[in-house]
Structures are given as C-alpha cells and as structure tokens.
Symmetry: C2
Subunit: 356 residues, 2 copies
C-alpha cells in the first residue's frame, strides 16, 4: 500500500523538555533549552495579551483569506497581498513549492535546513548537495550547470551553521539561473542577519522581478512565535497563485493568525530581542576565543562552536538540565547553541568552562 | 513550472464574518454565522482558562511526540499510542493518507466532504462518486468491484448532508473489500451520531483488526476547537507508522495541543453541547414540518432543509447578518444550517418564517 514511502524515514524532533524531566529528574523550571533556536524572550507582551483576549474564539475557523495579516505583511515588504501566501510555518510554504513542482533533482548546501531534503524525498527527488557544508555559490553554480535541478534552496542565513551569503551575491546568482529552475530563498533568520550587516538583507520586493524566485519568512524566530506555526512566502503572482492550489483551507489556527498580526505591531519588542541576541552571542565568542575553540561567525540566533568531544559534552550538559544541539550527526565535532537570555547563557557558559 | 497543477482549483472558504461586516455594514456582534458547523458553545471554559495560562509559551515548539494528548486519546479509544497519528485537523490525516498512497482512483459518496476530492486531485487521482448523493453502500460496492479504487472514503455521518450509515453496515462492507484498498472512515461528527443512535457508533478499537482501515476524528466539532486545527487518525501500527513519514514536525501549535488535551478532561461540557444540539435541532424540524419542507434526518450539528429558491433565501438571510450554507452549488435547492445557540436559532427561524 505504501510502496512509494519505503525510502522515507520518520522525522525525529529534538529532545523535548518533558523527556529530560522524566529521564534525569530535573524540575521543568530549571531546564535550559537552547536546542531549537526559539526566541528566549517569547513574543511581545502585547501579543500574549491579545491571544488571551481572543482565547474564547477557538471554536471559530480563522479568516481563510488572512485579510489583516496579509495587509500588514504586504505593507512591511512593499508588495501586494497577491504576492503573499501564508503557511503553517515557512516549512509549509517550502512543502507547497516542492509538491507543486515535484522535482526530479533539487540542490542544497552541504549542511542546511533539514526540511528541504525531507519534503523533496517525499516526491522522490534526488538531493544534490554542494561539497562544502556552508553555502558556496560557485559550487552551487557548477552543480546547477551539470545537473539542472528544478529547485535550488538557498538558506540566507543558513541553519544550522549560521553563515550568511551577501544579498548582492544572491541576486547575481539568480541572474545566471534559467527560469525553469525555482530558487527558494529561505529567510527564516533574515531579521537577525540584516540587523547585524545590511549587506545581508534580501529586499523581498526585488524578488518579484524574477519569474522563478520565492522568498520564505517566518514568525518563529525574531517574532517569538515558533510554537504557533506561522510563516509566509513572497513571490510573483504566478507562483503564489499556483502554490495556493495546494494550500489546505484553515492552514493556520485562529490564535496563530491573531498572534502573528499583532506581533507585526510591536517592532520595538522584536528589535530588543535581536539586539540582545548579538550582545549575548558575544559572550559565547569570548568563551570560544579564550578556550581556543573555532566557531562559525553567526548571523542568526544561534552559534556553532567546535568543542572537542561534542557528544560527550552535550550529554554532560543534558544531565545538568541544559539542552543544546550536538552537531555530531552532521559529522561535526561541535555544538549548536541557541542564544538564550542573559542568565541562561551565563549558566551554560559557566558549566561549559568547567567541563570542556 | 507547475504543469501538474493545471487542473487544480484554489479552495474558496465560506464567507467570513469580516466580509459580511464590510459588505452590509452589520456590526460583528450582531452577525449569526451558522455556515461552517462550528460548535456554537465553544470549548469548555476550562480549556479557555488553560490556554490563557499557557499563552506565554507561544515561542516554544510543541512536544512533537504528543505524549500527553496521545496518552489520553489512547485511553478513551481503547487503543495504543502507536495506533494514533495527530494532524492539523482530521483534514491533514486525510491528506497524509492520500499522499501516502497516491491513488489512481478513489471512491466517495455522491455528495460528501470536499477535502477527499481536493487532496485526491492533488495527486492526479480520478474521483469516482456513487450516483446517489447520500451514502449507499450497495452503490459503493458495485463501483468498487468494477473500478478497484485504492481509497474508499466513508463519511459517517456525512457532511454536508447529515445522514449516517449504520456501524454494522460499515463493518460488513469492510469485510467485502480487498486489503489493497484503504477504507477511510471519517468520524468528524461521530460524537453527535453515537449520542443520537448507538447503532451509528464506530468502535475505533474494532478498526485495528483490519489491515486496510483508518478512522479519522477531530476536535473541531464536539470539542469546540475548529479554529485550533487538531484531528487524529486511528489505525493499525503499519498504517500509522507509514503516515508518520509524511507528517511534518510540529504540525499543530503548542496552544492547540494544550487545548485539545484539556478538552478531553471535560466530557460534561461536550455532552452538554451535543444534548443541546439535538434539542435545538428539533426547532428546525418543527419549522420544516409546519412549512411542508423536506429535510434530511441529521446525525450531526447541522441540518439540510429543502427550502425553495434557496439561493434567494440565503441572500436575504445574509443581508440580515445570518450566514448559512446554500446547497445550490451541489445542485440542491436547500440550505445547510449549523445548529446554533437557542437565541441564534430562534432569530434564524423567526426570519425564515417571514421570508420563506
């Protein structure tokens, strides 16, 4: 019955807090989870208030036209509502794109966001990866010329490594690619990258000039709404209207829609989170430098540090109630640590100094 | 780029309240929306409280193993957690099933839940329908023998008509179907049907005996959580583990998971809603009888009444701020009206008496 699924694996998410609680007997309040690049400050207090005020509406289906949310997003990005599709996380927009094209081949960086591969395998695509782990647009182009993949995924900046290619290089690259190949620019961490360095900023409006480019954004990171599953795609009307054919009705919850819409009203809160992120990230950089550990310069809300025997270190941290991402599964002797709140980072760094 | 989508249409949801507000200048508070089979009583107050208390967790990804929710569902249904998959509405479980099999042909009742057809068309399947609008298992069997569809959808009870085949007939039917054909039993309104008539109750535990049957349930109707998008599938471990390969991580929100789990704790609230539903439905039956209008006996939270010139009537209702579903698009001169709260039904019936 399920012939076509025989090469697919089930996705396993990171260890939830509940599991650590059960396994090590650590109180939930004492656990520090810096493994999933969640925004440690959460959403704006105004968003929390608004959701509480509307919690009695949970029996109502959401506005399936996303009138208000799209209106606000369109204004911010300088595009029309018709250039926007809403997804349950930007993940779902990626899913629409992959399923809409059903590519034979797709092309990604050596190490990048796992969902590109997961969705592409669902439609039986071959996954081509650049030899380099980080994004090398030269390598992308060489493979593109030879293999002509139908989708190219650029993660700008890249999760789980944190590096970021320049916006100018992205657009130069786009110019060289035939219109038969869709280029998906995943901007899940763009708010962080463009804050740190303007040359990383992808101007979404400029995407519309191209027949074959889509940008995806999310409320999960800078806006602190990871658990509410709201993302979006921005592209020309032709692409967006086609992806809409695959969007199931009511694909985000009524409270998610209310939360995302309200989150766009409090840019100060978002800026505060991003500013603190890089201030706190410096503590990890200082630690790495002092220890003589290599790290990847990060344009996101996490940092990858090459800590010898990372698996052992990750396990030691876990027993102390600190959850980070071990990069061993990627063949890296390194940890990916989400930048937490000051007190969380201080505790993590204190522990790391003791055990690494 | 989107060759395979050329025969697909974009789904258009029913008129949202916002549209009526804009078009007819009626105050949002005065609009009565009985078009989408939402639970007029909403979720249990305990659910609302719990969601408010946890609204500050919106930045956290949900437990992707659904530990607590599955534990409770398993207990209620007398199955193991491994027999359960969680979806963003039962819609998504239907999507998993269709995409997992990629059928060439599927079989449904003449008029039934639109998503069977929408998802099936996405994978290019031919949609076979019984000549009768309502479920006729004889017709299903005749077409099955001739056409050998890979999926058969039974909507028990049926949306949007409201009729319900007996559970015994469903199981007799299953026995006659080869194991190569998946039978999907959509129980979105089962709580209503089994309350009204025990002979309609699908015992989910009995599903597990079969290699090729899956049951889908939802929190959108009896539990009053339509806007939160939580549903589930129950089947044998083989089917469930295969569908899990297509489930994206974090496919329901953290607040949806909390809400659904809490909703299972307040069965009194659910029973109250169902009891009132049938009490209030009687008012519509009395109205139809008095007017000499035919109606379909309903095992759900809505009723289909054949009201002459239904489109005209629906528009007249709309101008008075009452939204119901006109069945003209199905070729029926009838309205489908969701059973609302007493005061809503009284107002709708008063208006209907005047204009029909």
């Amino acid at each position: 019955m399920f012939e076509k699924l025989k090469n697919l694996k089930t996705y396993e998410a990171g260890k939830p807090i509940e599991l650590v609680v059960r396994e090590y007997g650590i109180k939930p309040g004492e656990i520090i989870k810096l493994a999933s690049n969640e925004n440690p400050y959460g959403p704006s207090p105004k968003v929390i208030e608004k959701v509480k005020k509307n919690a009695h509406l949970m029996h109502r289906y959401p506005d399936d036209s996303f009138y208000e949310l799209k209106e606000k997003l369109a204004k911010i990005h300088g595009v029309d509502k018709k250039n926007i599709i809403i997804g349950a996380g930007s993940d779902q927009v990626i899913e629409f794109a992959v399923h809409a094209i059903s590519p034979k081949k797709v092309l990604t960086a050596g190490i990048t966001f796992a969902m590109y591969e997961i969705y592409s395998k669902q439609v039986g695509a071959e996954i081509l990866k650049t030899p380099s782990a980080k994004h090398s647009l030269n390598e992308f182009y060489e493979i593109y010329k030879k293999e002509k993949p139908e989708i190219i995924f650029l993660c700008v900046p890249n999760n789980p490594l944190g590096e970021c290619i320049d916006a100018k290089d992205v657009f130069d690259f786009i110019e060289k690619i035939d219109e038969e190949t869709l280029i998906l620019i995943d901007g899940a961490y763009q708010e962080f990258a463009s804050y740190k360095d303007k040359s990383k900023e992808i101007k979404t409006k400029d995407i519309l000039k191209y027949k074959n480019v889509i940008y995806t954004g999310t409320f999960s990171k800078a806006y602190g709404l990871g658990g509410m599953r709201v993302g979006y795609g921005i592209s020309n009307e032709y692409i967006i209207s086609n992806l809409h054919k695959l969007r199931p009705p009511f694909n985000i919850t009524i409270l998610s829609q209310i939360a995302a819409s309200e989150a766009l009203e409090d840019s100060e809160w978002v800026d505060m989170g991003i500013e603190n992120n890089f201030k706190e990230m410096q503590k990890y950089i200082d630690f790495a430098k002092k220890k003589g550990f290599e790290y990847i310069e990060s344009y996101t809300n996490f940092i990858v540090i090459y800590i010898p025997e990372s698996t052992k270190i990750a396990n030691k941290l876990l027993k102390k109630g600190i959850i980070v991402r071990d990069m061993a599964s990627y063949g890296f002797d390194a940890l990916r640590i989400t930048i937490g709140k000051p007190e969380e980072n201080d505790k993590v760094l204190k522990t790391l100094r003791e055990i690494s």
